[in-house]
């Protein structure tokens, strides 16, 4: 297992390096936003003195590289600065929103991942039958519809017409866990519909790719029933690509949910980011982007480790 640990450490190091590059890009992108930040924050009625004072308060009079390293030094110690809008520390602004996003993503993932893999196995077993085709058409339809459209369709049928679930997913502090699940069901379902197809089709494809291997034929010639051939003989060898796609989709659940949050008025990090961009709250923008980048890197690292752990050649060296 020593080998696995070295690989993980190497990837972690590479991940940190990537994160550093991304931080430069994010900082540069924010710099490129048109207009003066102080003016944008203060509005049109601000006097020159006010703007100047604001610039100094924000440190905008310093050169960009100096500001970048000051920001980086803060970020490394967990201090992302102060939000320009609320004047509270960025971490305090982001933390509850990020927690909400993580909650919604986990909710969707807990439903989507098992369904996708199970469905993938089942369609692999019944490949080229009517069931396979119907499942393919349905999942492809759901993946090709924009999230906001899916969201509105769900609101119309499950929210407005039947009244089974609330259309708006606002939260408050004294909700029970069950209420929380009920309240956020529609956004979670929307996201499930968006990600299931990708994972299911990868599961199906990686299993079917293995069905021509000699060990699958051997399993059949031992009299192993069809479902067991798939579950016991094909699936354990198909994990690596499946895990990678699952990780990619999990990352999407965290970083790609802006539209869903807007449709359902859900107080997640996506909405926060959009607000912050329009209001030029650049410390918040930078912190959000960095969190998204770190999420991607960590989930991909997890996928690599998962792929290694499911490969018997790496798990049990000679």
């Amino acid at each position: 297992m020593g080998g696995v640990l070295t690989i993980v450490l190497k990837r972690l190091g590479l991940g940190l390096f990537t994160l550093f590059i991304i931080s430069v890009l994010i900082f540069g992108a924010v710099e490129l936003l048109p207009g003066d930040i102080a003016e944008a924050v203060l509005g049109q009625g601000a006097t020159k003195e006010n703007v100047q004072a604001m610039r100094e308060a924000l440190g905008l009079d310093k050169a960009a590289p100096v500001r970048y390293f000051e920001w980086l030094a803060g970020a490394v110690t967990g201090n992302f600065g102060v939000s320009l809008i609320s004047q509270s520390p960025v971490t305090e602004v982001i933390a509850p929103r990020f927690a909400n996003t993580l909650f919604l993503a986990s909710y969707a993932a807990v439903i989507a991942v098992p369904i996708a893999i199970l469905l993938g196995v089942v369609v692999a077993l019944f490949r080229d039958t009517l069931f396979d085709r119907v499942a393919n058409v349905l999942t492809l339809t759901s993946i090709s519809s924009p999230e906001f459209f899916l969201g509105y369709v769900l609101i119309l049928y499950l929210g407005v017409k039947t009244g089974m679930f609330p259309s708006i997913a606002t939260l408050n502090d004294n909700m029970t866990f069950l209420e929380l699940l009920h309240r956020t069901f529609l956004p979670a379902l929307t996201m499930v519909l968006v990600v299931v197809a990708h994972m299911m089709r990868m599961t199906r494809a990686s299993i079917i790719a293995l069905l021509a291997s000699p060990y699958i034929e051997m399993a059949r010639l031992k009299g192993t029933p069809g479902w067991k051939v798939i579950v016991k003989h094909a699936l354990p060898n198909a994990w690596a690509p499946i895990i990678n796609v699952v990780a990619l989709n999990l990352a999407y659940l965290i970083t790609g949910v802006v539209l869903v949050e807007v449709v359902f008025v859900y107080p997640g990090i996506g909405q926060l980011l959009v607000d912050a961009v329009t209001k030029r709250d650049f410390p918040v923008v930078q912190a959000c982007c960095l969190i998204f980048a770190a999420t991607f890197i960590l989930l991909n690292l997890a996928a690599d480790v998962g792929a290694i752990l499911t490969n018997p050649r790496l798990r049990h060296p000679k």
Binding site: S213, P214, Y215, M218, R220, L221, G223, K318
Partner: protein, 550 residues
């Protein structure tokens, strides 16, 4: 009913099988009959495309994807497999009819331990509890003379050697004590020394349990050791069937006789030029390694113009690595390569076009060595253009000339694609591509081992003719000693990266040998049906495994 009728285990009549290709069903087995009695071993032999495996699988009521059983009857112990339900057929597989595949390394699931794969069928059929079945597996491993029989099952397939895997697979086939086992080329992928262990193990266990078997192979000498009865197949038709003794001594059909005759091709041995002739290639004290692993240790030999040096040894002995060093694909750690007396730069990147032109290669798998999307004229034309600078009409006539040389009609093959050709034709294109550079030295890396014997013989004859006409020097990498006998002038025996012995062929094939050469030579199966028995007695039956580790 007579007692004899009761004895029949498998009765196949007028079996027809179709394969799907080019959007239609084409018959590939045309009405074959096969009768097998309890405890009997039948050898099915023939070239690729003869339908051996297809018939073997049909005996289990199984057809591969893209194949279907289209006619005839398959009666196994009174049960008609063509009409019974798939569930009933499946219930026979693993339980009463078992299968041993060609490559155990590919046919064991890499994700599970050997013993878990072994116990799967008996547990599924509720014949044994898991632990009982494990206990039984260990006992079978011991009978098959696997090392550490109590522990080896708890390993994963990649942790066990090829020969051991093949025996573990035979043990797995025995797990439910079937009435019939289909052995589908079980030793083809193994070295000769390993092959003996597996053959001996299979023969013993089939004897001990009085299991009937269908033994599929293209190797006549192997089938002679294993089978009571031999059936010869050609393109989905039966040629003839007889008991082993009769078949070997007096085959009736011409096709069978031609199979028997293959091994007789032998060209006259040439000896080194006298005087101060400079070798075309001189390998001098080469050490080489892949990363930290040393794979060649002080390898030296010379190849003279017009002569063939065969480099033999088991897999992993460093034969192909030597070729990689000569061509500059793997720069050596130490030593040098001389061509016509001039030292070559170690890496191909530093060699000039002229230096590269002199040494060309022909590969084992013509299938993968030719780009399937490129026309024959471009495959052969490319080196002629690159090294010879030919263009337009000159290039076309050079390609035509080369196609003539390899005995393929230029007008017919000029603009075809590799997938339209047979295996032997593809290998000829590989030869033409090497010749296109106008080399003085050609490395032939197992060029005949993927081919049927008759086709292989054609390739050997062609190479021999080209050598005479063009005064080429060959380095022939092979593990097949029959090929060595037929074409080599000198032999280099390699083991674990070292040259253990080298010399002229006649000397090498005459005792006394180096012990390793002796082991290699004596391990090549011979047509004599008693060869294996005699050999095992000489070596002492209980240490076949050890004999191979000398």
């Amino acid at each position: 009913m007579t007692g004899k009728k009761k004895d029949v285990l498998l009765d196949i009549k007028d079996l027809r099988i179709e394969g799907y290709s080019d959007e239609k069903w084409i018959e590939i087995v045309h009405g074959v009959d096969l009768t097998l009695h309890r405890g009997e071993v039948m050898g099915l032999i023939g070239e690729s495309g003869a339908g051996k495996s297809t018939i073997g699988l049909a005996a289990m009521g199984f057809a591969r994807d893209g194949c279907r059983i289209s006619g005839g009857s398959i009666e196994f112990d009174g049960m008609e497999l063509t009409t019974t339900s798939e569930a009933d057929r499946r219930a026979l597989r693993g339980a009463r009819i078992a299968y041993v595949a060609q490559s155990a390394a590919a046919s064991f699931n890499p994700a599970h331990k050997l013993i878990d794969q072994h116990t799967e069928a008996p547990v599924h059929y509720r014949m044994r509890k898991r632990l009982e079945s494990q206990e039984d597996a260990m006992e079978l491993y011991e009978r098959l003379r696997l090392p550490n029989p109590r522990d080896i099952g708890f390993r994963y397939p990649h942790q066990v050697s090829g020969g051991q895997l093949q025996r573990a697979m035979t043990a797995m086939a025995m797990a439910c004590r079937p009435d019939l086992i289909i052995f589908d080329e079980p030793t083809t992928a193994l070295d000769v020394t390993t092959q003996i262990e597996v053959l001996a193990a299979i023969r013993d266990i089939v004897d001990q349990f009085n299991t009937a078997a269908i033994y599929i192979t293209h190797d006549l000498a192997v089938v002679a050791q294993m089978a009571d009865v031999i059936k010869v197949l050609l393109k989905g038709d039966e040629v003839e069937e007889a008991d082993t003794e009769t078949m070997l001594k007096s085959p009736k059909e011409d096709y069978t006789k031609s199979l028997w005759a293959v091994r007789s091709f032998q060209r006259e041995q040439k000896s080194r030029p006298t005087g101060d002739a400079v070798p075309v290639v001189s390998v001098q004290e080469i050490d080489a390694s892949y990363g930290p692993t040393k794979v060649l240790d002080n390898v030296s030999f010379d190849v003279y113009a017009g002569m063939t040096v065969a480099v033999v040894g088991e897999s992993g002995s460093g034969k192909s690595t030597t070729a990689r060093v000569i061509t500059g694909l793997l720069p050596p750690d130490k030593g040098k390569i001389l061509m016509n007396g001039e030292e070559m730069p170690p890496s191909y990147k530093q060699r000039s076009k002229e230096e590269l032109r002199k040494a060309q290669m022909i590969y084992q798998m013509a299938d993968t060595a030719l780009n399937p999307k490129v026309r024959i004229c471009d495959i052969i034309g490319r080196p002629a253009q690159f090294y010879g600078g030919l263009k337009g009409g000159a290039l076309k006539s050079r390609v035509d000339e080369l196609l003539d040389l390899i005995e393929l009609e230029p007008s017919q093959y000029y603009s075809r694609f590799p997938p339209e050709l047979s295996g032997g034709q593809k290998q000829r294109i590989g030869i033409a591509r090497a010749l296109a550079a106008d080399p003085t030295f050609i490395i032939c890396d197992e060029v005949t081992s993927a081919l049927d014997q008759l086709v292989a013989e054609g390739i050997l004859k062609l190479l021999d003719r080209l050598q005479k006409e063009l005064n080429l020097a060959y380095m022939f990498i092979t593990h097949d000693l029959a090929t060595v006998r037929s074409i080599a002038d000198e032999v280099v025996v390699m083991k674990q990266g070292k040259v253990v012995e080298q010399g002229p062929k006649d000397v090498m094939f005459t005792p006394p040998h180096h012990p390793y050469t002796d082991l290699l030579l004596s391990s090549v199966p011979e047509m004599d049906p008693n060869w294996l028995t005699t050999l095992l007695e000489e070596r002492g039956v209980d240490n076949v495994g050890e004999a191979a580790d000398v």
